[in-house]
């Protein structure tokens, strides 16, 4: 935690950089370093589907738009092998590999504006406070889009996912117990893809149900640790557990499950989170923006259970 003197020095350094022609880039970099760190720590979309950096020459040009598009190949299905008697030839199948398009849009934070002389009077690092809020807004938007897409794939409990032909969103009665958790982990592997759950996403209320597990349910000292210290992100049931406070996206008593990202789709980052800063006379303005594109290319690696 920087002292007040250090904070004032930081603010003065920023002003000096903004005052010097050609130094705006350095000022931006100073904020970017902080921004990127927070991004990695906070957004569950990025932790479930880590962003892949994509460059201009990796984009696929289209004739009807100059907007960025990336075409991604999918593993093709193939007819099953069969047993045949002698003197019989196999059937033909023509090779066609499915593809899908990933398209991009931009997420921007609100633009902060301030008279620099008013900014000088702060003894807190006001830039960090505002940057935190901007990043939280952007992370919420990212996560919101991610969950909206998930819900579009699996909108209703008990309904068959038309893409896979399997029910991947179930309701399980009996609350959250060792038995029901293990039953939940069976939903995804039941599809024809046989994926195992790699990541579990729950909210900070749901996870507290696990604190109730006794030694016989949780397994020895682990039960003691979590009742003593609370839940810390850890591997449990051979899955990585992510706990979010975004209860509007991940409801109470719901468990969202994801296979390895390579089985789910792509999350491309065309423009990393960037802080635009401009000072014109005594007015300072800044906002953050990023360009990102993502799609679920295959939905068998998604599953959800609501515990009743």
């Amino acid at each position: 935690m920087p002292t007040q003197q250090e904070v004032q020095l930081l603010n003065e350094t920023l002003f000096e950089q903004l005052d010097t022609p050609g130094m705006q880039k350095q000022a931006i970099d100073a904020v970017n370093d902080f921004t990127r760190t927070k991004m990695r720590e906070d957004g569950f979309y990025r932790r479930i589907m880590p962003p892949l950096t994509i460059t201009n020459d990796e984009l696929d040009r289209q004739v009807d738009t100059d907007k960025p598009v990336k075409v991604v190949d999918k593993e093709p299905d193939s007819p099953a092998a069969v047993s045949l008697p002698f003197a019989t030839l196999p059937i033909n199948f023509y090779i066609r590999g499915p593809r899908y398009r990933v398209m991009f849009d931009r997420i921007v934070s609100p633009r902060a504006v301030k008279d620099v002389d008013e900014l000088r009077t702060y003894v807190i690092d006001i830039r960090q406070v505002l940057s935190d809020n901007m990043i939280k807004d952007m992370l919420a938007e990212e996560d919101s889009k991610f969950i909206a897409a998930f819900n579009a794939v699996l909108p209703t409990a008990g309904a068959t996912n038309p893409a896979s032909g399997y029910v991947q969103y179930e309701e399980i009665s009996g609350g959250i117990t060792r038995e029901t958790l293990v039953d939940a982990l069976k939903v995804m592997p039941r599809t024809s893809s046989h994926f195992e759950v790699e990541t579990c996403l729950v909210n900070n209320i749901t996870i507290k149900e696990l604190l109730k597990f006794g030694r016989d349910e949780m397994g020895g000292d682990f039960s003691q640790d979590i009742i003593k210290n609370g839940w810390a992100e850890t591997n449990f049931l051979n899955c990585r557990w992510i706990v979010t406070i975004k209860r509007d996206l991940v409801p109470d008593d719901s468990l969202f499950m994801f296979a390895s990202p390579k089985f789910i789709g792509k999350n491309y980052e065309l423009e990393p989170t960037t802080m635009y800063i401009r000072r014109e006379a005594f007015m300072l303005e800044y906002f953050a923006y990023q360009t990102q594109g993502g799609s679920f290319g295959h939905t068998n690696g998604l599953a959800r259970v609501d515990f009743k």
Partner: protein
């Protein structure tokens, strides 16, 4: 049968004056699910609340502010449909989010739009309105000087230089953005 290709300048806005600037007045929202056609760039929309959320609907009426779309609902930065015409799954887009963006009619712009009724004759000073159909591609959000009487119909523009072919060979209508809500002439008198 393959679908006809689309030139990226066939539909859209050229903003001759007043844009781009950081202070430009624009607005973003998703298209209402009640709109059954793919809305091209340049169409006029207005804002309404649907289920507590702001959505765009074509045209202008009553006191709904006109907004000139910079993006079409089928643009690559707006939508990325992943289900085939036959109902088969291709992908489910996480982005883009479905939001369109447009210039608000009270902003100070001179706009050349491809989305106007080219069967009409336009003269400088003609007032413009736009149809509100949610199902007719030919009229929904299309600019026209028909039934565009100030203080009676909602007006979203005044013709500047009129209709002409632009440098891409596409017919466009040049106008200034203004806004007058609809009313009744009798009550205003």
């Amino acid at each position: 049968m393959a679908t006809a290709p689309d030139l990226m300048f066939e539909h859209g806005l050229d903003v001759k004056k007043g844009w781009f600037d950081m202070a430009s007045l624009d607005y973003s929202a998703k298209l209402s699910s009640s709109v059954s056609f793919t809305v091209p760039r340049g169409r006029v929309v207005h804002l309404e609340l649907s289920g507590g959320k702001e959505v765009f609907l074509p045209g202008v009426s009553a006191a709904h502010m006109g907004i000139f779309l910079l993006n079409g609902s089928g643009d690559a930065d707006v939508s990325n449909p992943g289900t085939t015409a036959g109902g088969n799954f291709m992908h489910q887009a996480i982005s883009p989010s479905g939001k369109l963006s447009g210039l608000v009619a009270t902003g100070g712009y001179e706009i050349a739009s491809t989305e106007f009724d080219s069967t009409q004759t336009y003269a400088p000073g003609d007032t413009l309105t736009a149809g509100t159909s949610t199902s007719a591609l030919s009229t929904g959000g299309v600019l026209t000087n028909q039934s565009a009487v100030q203080y009676v119909n909602a007006v979203c523009g005044v013709v500047s230089s009129g209709a002409s072919r632009n440098h891409n060979g596409v017919l466009t209508l040049s106008f200034w953005s203004v806004y007058l809500p609809a009313g009744t002439a009798a009550t205003i008198d």
